[in-house]
Structure formats: structure tokens, C-alpha cells
Symmetry: C2
Subunit: 422 residues, 2 copies
Amino acid sequence: MALIVHKYGGTSMGSTERIRQVAKRVAKWARAGHQMVVVPSAMSGETNRLLGLAKELSPEGSSAELNRELDLIAATGEQVSVGLLAIALQAEGMQAVSYAGWQVPIKTDSSFTKARIESIDDQRVRADLAAGKVVIITGFQGIDPNGHVTTLGRGGSDTSAVAVAAAMKAAECLIYTDVDGVYTTDPRIVSDARRLHTISFEEMLEMASLGSKVLQIRSVEFAGKYRVPLRVLSSFTPWDIDIEEEAKSGTLITFEEDVKMEQAVVSGIAFNRDEAKVSLLGVPDKPGIAFQILGPVADANIDVDVIIQNVSHDGRTDFSFTVHRNDYQRTMELLKTRVAVDTGAASVVGDKNICKVSIVGIGMRSHVGVASKMFRSLSEEGINIQMITTSEIKTSVVIDEKYMELAVRALHKAFELDQPNS
Amino acid sequence: MALIVHKYGGTSMGSTERIRQVAKRVAKWARAGHQMVVVPSAMSGETNRLLGLAKELSPEGSSAELNRELDLIAATGEQVSVGLLAIALQAEGMQAVSYAGWQVPIKTDSSFTKARIESIDDQRVRADLAAGKVVIITGFQGIDPNGHVTTLGRGGSDTSAVAVAAAMKAAECLIYTDVDGVYTTDPRIVSDARRLHTISFEEMLEMASLGSKVLQIRSVEFAGKYRVPLRVLSSFTPWDIDIEEEAKSGTLITFEEDVKMEQAVVSGIAFNRDEAKVSLLGVPDKPGIAFQILGPVADANIDVDVIIQNVSHDGRTDFSFTVHRNDYQRTMELLKTRVAVDTGAASVVGDKNICKVSIVGIGMRSHVGVASKMFRSLSEEGINIQMITTSEIKTSVVIDEKYMELAVRALHKAFELDQPNS
């Protein structure tokens, strides 16, 4: 008998019929002798509906007062979900009780709309589990030190589930989703992409942050910090699938670097076409220049991803970085009107039609020549590399957007990701 | 400057456009120097939508566990409303903050789906008012001693508003609704029914309990207990109507029995066609017979309204009472299969096609002949009276349903309710 956390996404909770399926699956796990905690998302579309109503009324701009109200409103989506799932479980003959985040309580800081979990009190939940109840907890939300409802931001229910699993020292946290695991790359682009049976926590972190949208990145960070075994698996299998089979399905995100994993040099290909590239050309190369450029960008609340500064010549250098495509216009204006003037840059250029492609693999640490193999492979396809960044377990390149699928397929093949693990 | 509570019903909160109108109206009151607390209902249709989802999943029967979940689900309707109204007020340039019942907190007992308010902590709200904020509080809900969300039952938002007004010692509680006040009777039946400028608390209690559905009866009881001045007025007047005019509109439910009110013998005609009549004929007239009949009825959770026992002859009597029409079949079965046998009644008869018509007036206390005037008036219309009950300030008759409109019109005319107060 183990304590298990299940997390179900909005699609899995999308209708009363779907909720009934979730209840039957959870009941199966509980009847197999497990102590069950379930963290469901809001019914699909509900959070958008609620925030849409708020948007129709919103004053211009953003404020803590406004965000506080948005959180109180958005949090209701999950509150409805947990209540409905508890009722569905009761209809299955199970004892079940649901809690909103503030009732557990799940304590967060006061950053409305993007709060961070600070602690979870497990007393109430443990008492219910000991009494034989299935406990259902709202994802996405908590309560701040002043008693205000907070939300964790989009995808926050993954983080809630992992945080609950960490607080309860759960044996495993199962994230039920609309894909059946983590793949070597997106199967819509590479038809022979393979599902990974296991992936290391660090690789998953890189995959998640690079646009492989299976799991919210903060939930992976959380899992890493507290070493919560995390499994991504499909919510579309029949609920009455054999439980032993189900428990081994999907992809396990693990913290043990076993031999087999060391042997796989590259585990997956990630990609992202949400970014745009901007460059300041001919910037005087002097101390503090990076801060002079990126300080105003950060002040404007624009997130920067890749940053590259080339070696200087004649006391001048080129400084490039990428931002989210939605922030492209704002960034260009900011650079042209203020930053270029302040820094004495010669010119500002930008490009929205780029993408980032990355190879990710914990084995890269101990294998030389992985990056050069990547560059050769792209070169053979005639793809020009515009920017390069590397870390211990990944190498990313920025290329023309139109070559994205081609690059992903070429790399998938070059690193033999289509071959089953031996 | 006074502390004022506004309550808005589901229709007033029915769309973002309607919510914007509510915000403008509240802002007008706040700008006139009043400290404002607002208690809105859920957007119209929302509570039904939520409970409909729950019903699709509900196990058979009813339990505290199920009701607990229903309350957690249903409470979200008002939570969304308060957040949206706060945002709309912020858009009007006001400072505004909203609270769910548990945040205030509004403390209730643990009777899920029909909880009763036990106390309201006004500290948080007072601090916000002192800081110049409009405070918006969810209607319909609270929190029980174990930290569970409770709801007060249908129409509970009226009660919440009055309870908040009582706790805050508000100068007045304004209930904005889709009618513009309390009428001498239903204007759909008597075209020259008049709006009352004032009505006494006790008369309002009788009017509310007799089917005049302007206000939830518990809210009137609450207002009476704590002597909260209560005004029913229209939410359909333009929001920018002159505030002095608005403050005098609608109907004021008052506790002062001034001369003018004493002079109006009958204030209104109430009616109700939701009931059915059942009679046990030839019941042995012995001590305890009423309990022997009504005990099993109460055990079956059937509410009884009018109860009449005639004088006995030959040691036998007839015992009649009315129940809600929905409970008619159950009641008849119960009486035939059990109660008639146990009591030795000669027979059981019933009639669904009845209605109850009542005259209500605090002046009846000091005026003789009011009831006989009522009976004469009905007799002149050829209407047979089946049952009669009286209290200090009302007289009710049960008659054939088909005569209801005729009876109401006749009584409205007989008591000169179509004449303006002098």
C-alpha cells in the first residue's frame, strides 16, 4: 500500500462523463489498497471563460488589486472540479472529500496570478486518508499570508500536484494528460519519434523549458527539488486497464542516473517557435554594457531567453538576444528609442521568423563531439545557424523558422532516436 | 455619511454589461459619501448550471458528504460575481475589494445546503471601509466551525445582505430586485394594485411567507430580529437616477408603527397555489390524535402549513391540513397506508386544486369585523370557503383554485387597496 497522487488535466475533467471515468480510475487505485490524493484541473475552457468575463470589465493596465480579484474568480474553476469529482467518487461507493487550496491550506506568497507555493499543511489530508477517504485537492491555487486566494499561473495544477506529492512524501505522482508520455521529439513532426520509458529530471527540465509542453516547467523544478518520482501517462486509456500495466505506462521522470541512461547520449529534440531575435550592432564594448541593455528590458517586464555577446573588434561588439514573439514590437521600440541612444549602438535589427532547436541529453556531459555532430547534420541540410548556446546537457541553435521541421527530423535521425534503446 | 448595504439579485448580475451598471450605481452612492458594502448573487442561471452538473454525477439519495460537496460547488457562483463586481468598480476608478464568505468570515452552523448564520466578524470589512474601499461580500454562503464551506439555501443572498447589515449596524439595507417594491397584491392579477411606500416588518413577514416572493422569508425574520431597516427597490431604474430620489423609492420595511400605518387596516392580499389539502374524516377525538397524525408526516420530511381540527360530534372529528403540492401523493399514501389505520379514521380525502388567499394588515389587531368583511366579499362572488385560519395580522382562506384571481380582485377592491393612502 502506497500513497499515490494523481493529477488530471482540463480535458480529462471536460464533462461529467469524463469526470465519471476519472472517478472509476481513481476508485480502482484506491480499491487496490493505495491511499489516493487527486489534484484535478478546472473543466477545459472554464478558466478562459472566467478570465474572459473579467477581461470584459477590466480597467486598463494591471495592479495587485485587479490581480487579487482575477485570482478569486479563476480559482472557482478548480473548486467546481474537485466538488464534482468527489460526488462522482461517492457515486462509485467510495468515501471522498474535496478541499480548496485555502482549506488544506496550501500556503503561497502574495504574487497574485503567479504565486509560489511556500508550504503545505498535510494534517487534514492525512487524517482523511487514515479514515479511508480519497482526498481531492484543487490545483492551481493557494492562500497567501493575508488570507487572500492566489493562483499559480497557467499550468499551475501540475505544480500543485507535485507539491502535494512532495509534502505527503508520496511514492509517485502520476500526471494524467492527453499524451501518453514524453517523446524523443514531437511525433507530429517526426513520425518515428519514440516514447521514452524513463527520462532524467534534468533532461525533462530542458525539454520542458524548450517548448515540449507535456509538463509545466515549475512542476519539474519542484519534482527535482524534492525528488518526487513523476510519471506522465495517458488519461485516454480505458479506466479499467490492468493496474500493474497502467503503473508502468507513460514516461517516468527519474533521479537515478543508471547505466542505460548514460549510454543514451541525446534523449530528445526540443523546439520552440515562440521567440524572436533582436540585435544591437556596434555597441561600445565596455564594462556594464550588458546591464545597460538588458536592465531596461527587464524593467519593461520582458523575459529574455538566449543571450549572446560576440567577441569585440575595434572596441565595438554585437549584442543579441531572444524574447517571446509577443514582446517583439515592444522590445524593438524600447531598443530603438532608448537603449540604442543610451549605449551609442550603431543600429538595431530584429527578426521574428526564427526558431530554436535543441538537442537534450544527460549523456552529453561525458561525450565530446555531440555539438559538432549537430552542426554538421544541420550543415548537410543547408541550414544556416544564426545563434548558438550550450549548457551541460543541451545545445540550442537559432535558425530560420522555415527550416524547423527539417532540422528536427535531421537531428532525430542523426542521433538515432528512431532506434529502440538496446 | 452612512454605512449602506446594497444587495443585487442574479438578474442584476446577469451579464458583464449589467454588472457594469451595478458598479456605476454603487460608485454613485460611494461618491455621495456613503460607506458601501455590496452583496451580489451569482449571475442568473449559474447556480442552476453548477447544481445541474452535480446532479448528473450524484449518487442516489442525500448525505452530509454529498451536501458538503454541493455547497463547495454552488458557492463558486457568488465568488465569481464578487470578483467581477470588484473589477468593474476598479474600472470606475473606485477602490474595491471582494471577499468570499469564509474570508470575512461569515460563520454558520454545519447544515450543508441550508446553513444558518451564527456570527459575522466585521473587523476586516470595517478596516477596508475606513481605508475608503467599497467592500463586496458573497451572498448565500459562509463557513462552518470545521472550515467547510456552507450555503444558506435558495434566496440566501437576501439573508446574507441583511445579516451583514445587522453586523455592521448599517443605516439601511437596500435590496435591488426586478420588482420596484412591495405591492398590495400581484399586479399581474389586479391591474390597479398599488406599491406600498412602507410596510411593517410583521406584515412583510406574512406577505413573504404567503407567497409574495419579493424577499426570502428568512431575510425578513433576520431584519426583524436585528431591526435592520430594509428597502426593496428596482434595479431597472437608470443607474444615474438622482440619489435622493432613489433613496426614497421602492418599499421600506419598517419597525415603527406610525399613525398612518395604523389607519391602513389591510395592507395587502397574498396568495399561494402551491398547496394541496388532505383530510382524515371520522377520526376518534382523543388526546394525542394530532401528534399521531402529524408525527409520521413530519418524519417523512413533509412540511405542513394550515392545520384545522373541527369540533367533534359523537366522539369523532375531521382533521385537515395542507402540504406542498409536490408532497401531495406521498402524503396521501402515507395517510392511507399507515395513519388512517393507526388512528382508526373512517376515510382519507384530498384535493390538489386549491389555493390559499390571505388578507394581511397590522391594523387588523385593533379593528373588528375585518374577517367578516372578507367572508362577505367572497360570498358575494359565490366563492365557497373550504378552510379558515387566522392570526393577529392575517386571515387566510382555502378556496377552489379556479376562483383565485376572482377572490384576490374582489378583496383588493373591498379593502380599497386601489385607493392611494391619504
